[in-house]
């Protein structure tokens, strides 16, 4: 089971802020997670949306598996 989090407008686009999901066998990295969920929620595929794994920003595709927390982050707006 992986935990998948959605922030900002992605919360509305997906309809929830968190999912507990069993990753399909062929979904083993962040690019694959994005394509897998993006087929139902195209907002996740926008290049401005970044991914963090276990609360660390990813700069490139990264392996993920059971127990990981995968967060989809739209452009940030602090301050």
């Amino acid at each position: 089971m992986a935990t998948i989090l959605f922030f900002g407008r992605l919360r509305d686009a997906v309809g929830t802020n968190a999912l507990a999901a069993t990753l399909p066998d062929d979904v083993r990295d962040t690019d694959a997670v994005r394509s897998w969920l993006g087929s139902d929620h195209p907002a996740l595929c926008d290049p401005s949306v970044r991914i963090a794994v276990n609360a660390e920003m990813t700069a490139a595709n990264r392996a993920v598996g059971d127990g990981d927390e995968i967060a989809f982050l739209p452009p940030m707006s602090g301050g």
Binding site: L5, F7, G8, R9, R11, D12, A52, A55, E56, M57, E69, A71, L73, P74, P75, M76, S77, G78, G79
Partner: protein, 145 residues
């Protein structure tokens, strides 16, 4: 001193405490960001990613300390529900001379706007609306390399 909190804070008290702790520095600069008092905005909501926010904000502070040789720095950032006119962020820098203090505050704000995991939602007459960093915020951030 870095805090991320849902409670309101008093920027005057924050600045007084910061100056009291910055003995030996020759210059203190600070910035307070407020929720804009637009007639059409009844409130603001700040979503954030708690597991990431603290360390992202701390990393911005540490980068400013190293880059500008700061003697001390403060970042206070709110999350949750805010009303128009309320302080949302307070940033302060203490340095030997004013230029480093001014620049450090500007730098920290540019990075907070674009790299701290906060997401703003405005509540207005047409319902809630997510606000994202503007192109000008990204250009401001890019000035620092």
């Amino acid at each position: 001193m870095i805090r991320v909190q849902p409670e309101p804070f008093d920027p005057a008290a924050e600045l007084a405490a910061f100056i009291a702790g910055a003995k030996g520095a020759g210059a203190v600069a600070s910035f307070t960001g407020l929720v804009r008092g637009d007639d059409n905005v009844s409130g603001l909501e700040l979503d954030h990613y708690p597991a990431l926010t603290g360390k992202a904000v701390a990393a911005i502070g540490e980068a400013a300390r190293a880059r500008f040789g700061l003697a001390a720095l403060a970042i206070v950032h709110r999350f949750g529900a805010l009303a128009p006119g309320e302080p949302i962020v307070f940033v302060a820098a203490a340095a030997a001379h004013r230029r480093a203090a001014f620049r450090a505050v500007d730098y920290m704000m540019d990075r907070l706007k674009t790299e701290a995991p906060f997401w703003k939602r405005e509540h207005g007459p047409d319902g809630p609306r997510w606000i994202e960093a503007r192109g000008s915020d990204v250009e401001d951030r890019a000035r620092w390399g």
